[in-house]
């Protein structure tokens, strides 16, 4: 038998959703408990972000983890990378673990690129000597040679990400833990990430990868795990797990609020979304498609936009829109806001769709990247078009109307011009 690289037994993580963060409240509740007069509000609500997760990975295996937000993916990665301790169970990791839960997370804006390379490198577990011997290579790979002694806050977002990724690309541990790192940056940056991942997998490294991109999971992972509500819903061959996961969009409601603690590190996050008017019947394609989105902003981030993507069951994006140029985009404020987005009618043809929400800000040293994937689902029906009146289904990708014109062909003088819609 090959020896394991990662072994998890009954891992569980409980969060207490506490009544208050104030010392006074805590003392009062302690006192009441001591007097045997515990009140309702003293009982802290429990939330199991992860429950009974057991699995084993052999050396050289690449595991992909899929699941909706709040399914426990990030919690599992945080436990395996020792950022937080589990509440139950035990995990064993053989060899050095390198985790990359966010590209460039350790960067300090006031320090120069050079200083940050060292800081970031040692944070990820490299030694100073290792970084020094690869320093030129790291800088060359990032293509920032002439700016290496400039504080990184003056970097463009592209330079920042390239430098951060370049440091990360030189970190190779026995077990790599990667959270959604393949999803940031422009196309050429993503190609670099993918290329690096290919390198890793061909070297026979063990890796655990969380991604919302099914293409990335399919490409890199030998096995996959589907987490749902903190528990393993499926574990096995990548293709089987992914199809099981993708086959469930119909379970999604047209309205949803997050039921799990928000990621505290996210400056902005979509907390709820619903399709209006929220009817039990499917959306009529001839009506405008209106979504209501609740956005929570802890810290206003200039340049952060809320994006909405509508995907079909094959995960193809059929429509995408963002609130760039909205009032909120130009004057971001802290607090809760309700955004409304009305997409034009006849955008989609009948079928089932999922709506995905994200907050993205790429023009900043630290990108905000809060995803709500497969957040709500809805059906589109045709009740009002002329095809529906003949009992026919709209074919194709969109039901947009076109303008058809007809006029007598040159040389034919029989009838006046006519136009029609269809």
């Amino acid at each position: 038998m090959t020896e394991f690289a990662v072994e998890a037994e009954n891992l569980g993580k409980r969060y207490l959703l506490g009544p208050s963060r104030e010392l006074g409240g805590a003392i009062k509740s302690l006192a009441r408990r001591a007097l045997g007069r515990a009140s309702e509000s003293d009982a802290r609500r429990e939330f199991w972000a992860l429950r009974d997760v057991s699995f084993q990975l052999e050396r050289g295996e690449v595991l992909g983890i899929v699941g909706r937000n709040g399914a426990g993916k990030s919690t599992l990665l945080k436990i395996l990378s020792r950022v937080t301790a589990p509440t139950t169970g035990v995990a064993r990791m053989r060899g050095r673990v390198g985790s990359l839960l966010e590209v460039g997370s350790g960067f300090h804006p006031d320090l120069s690129g050079r200083e940050n390379v060292y800081l970031n490198g040692v944070t990820m577990g490299l030694t100073r000597a290792q970084i020094a011997s690869h320093f030129d290579e790291i800088v060359a790979f990032a293509e920032v040679e002439s700016f290496i002694d400039t504080p990184v806050k003056h970097y463009s977002s592209g330079m920042y990400m390239r430098l951060a990724f370049s440091v990360a690309a030189h970190l190779v541990a026995d077990v790599m833990i990667l959270d959604e790192v393949l999803a940031v940056g422009d196309a050429s940056f993503q190609r670099k990430c993918l290329g690096r991942m290919d390198g890793l997998t061909s070297e026979g490294r063990t890796a655990i990868l969380v991604s919302h991109s099914m293409a990335a999971i399919r490409r890199h992972c030998s096995r996959a795990m589907w987490l749902d509500g903190g528990e393993i819903r499926a574990f096995g061959a990548t293709e089987e797990v992914i199809s099981a996961y993708l086959d469930t969009p119909s379970r999604l409601e047209t309205s949803r609020e997050v039921s799990y603690p928000l990621r505290t590190e996210a400056a902005m996050q979509v907390t709820a979304a619903r399709l209006l008017p929220g009817a039990a019947v499917d959306h009529d394609l001839t009506e405008p498609l209106t979504f209501e989105i609740d956005l929570e902003t802890r810290r206003p981030v200039p340049g952060a936009y809320v994006g909405l993507a509508i995907r079909d069951p094959s995960e193809t994006i059929r429509y995408w829109t963002a609130d760039i140029d909205s009032e909120r985009f130009h004057n971001p404020v802290a607090g809760r806001q309700r955004l409304t987005v009305t997409c034009p009618p006849r955008l989609l043809t009948p079928g089932r769709y999922t709506a995905h929400f994200a907050v993205i800000a790429m023009g900043r040293p630290e990108p905000v990247f809060a995803m709500q994937e497969r957040f709500i689902g809805f059906g589109v029906e045709d009740r009002g078009s002329f095809l529906a009146s003949y009992g026919l289904l709209y074919p194709g990708m969109t039901a947009q109307e076109s303008h058809w014109g007809a006029e007598p062909a040159p040389g034919d003088m029989q009838e006046p011009a006519r136009t029609a819609h269809g």
Binding site: A26, R82, V83, R94, D110
Partner: protein, 281 residues
Amino acid sequence: MPSAVVESRSDEVVEIRPNKGFVSLRLGEFWAYRDLLREMIARDMLARYKQSFLGKAWVIVQPLTLMTLYYFIFGVILELKTGVVPFPVFLLGGVLIWQLVAASATNISYSMVSNAHLMNKVYFPRLLIPVSQSVAAVVDFAFGLLVLAGFMAVARVALPPQALLAPLFVVYAIVTGMALGLWLAPLNVKYRDIGQAVPLVLQVFMYASPVFYSPTLVPEQWRSLYYLNPGAGIIQGFRWSLMGDVPPEPIAWVCPLLVAALFLSGLYFFRSREAELVDDL
């Protein structure tokens, strides 16, 4: 793609378990992370003075300003007497050693919250953060000491033989600051009002310590009680050893034991909380 990547192969199995029962201090792990400690200290020192007009001069501007301020209030206006040591030298000594305690206690208490972004993303022994904060405070103190030496030379204050003991009082100050910080830092994560209380408590502590007045001004019958404040022993002990001021009362020697107990319990408290700190950040 990078042609060569940093290699590291090991067969060591790390066990990740719930943080329950008796925790080991795992001080050995510290050695493995020495490079990170060094970078953290460098980051704290570099980032603090970058883009500030006076730059590194801030290290000495602050104690000098306080010294001047106290000199005018207590020396010129209130006409306090200090005995053997000239008042400016007396004040600067008090301000410097007090700031060593207060700065490390304050900075450590806030350090978990200010390093939340790092702690949320990577593992490292969390104790590195308080240690780096403490080292930064010591470096500031060392610069202040150079200025103090200059003042002592100008005022012709000679080093007494007990000056050999001065490092002991510096260590005592460092340990006191860390002991307070180690207790306050995890509490500040859980209860954010601790952060509000820290400056106030330290201010009370400062007035109860002989920073700008001589402990001989404290009435005789209160003086034993007065020296039960570790701050009194640290400051006066430092002055006695370095500039030959009146020595602390013998009762002050109880305090190092209390501080040592606070420090050790603080270490264990911090370690027992560290694995779950991020859950509240």
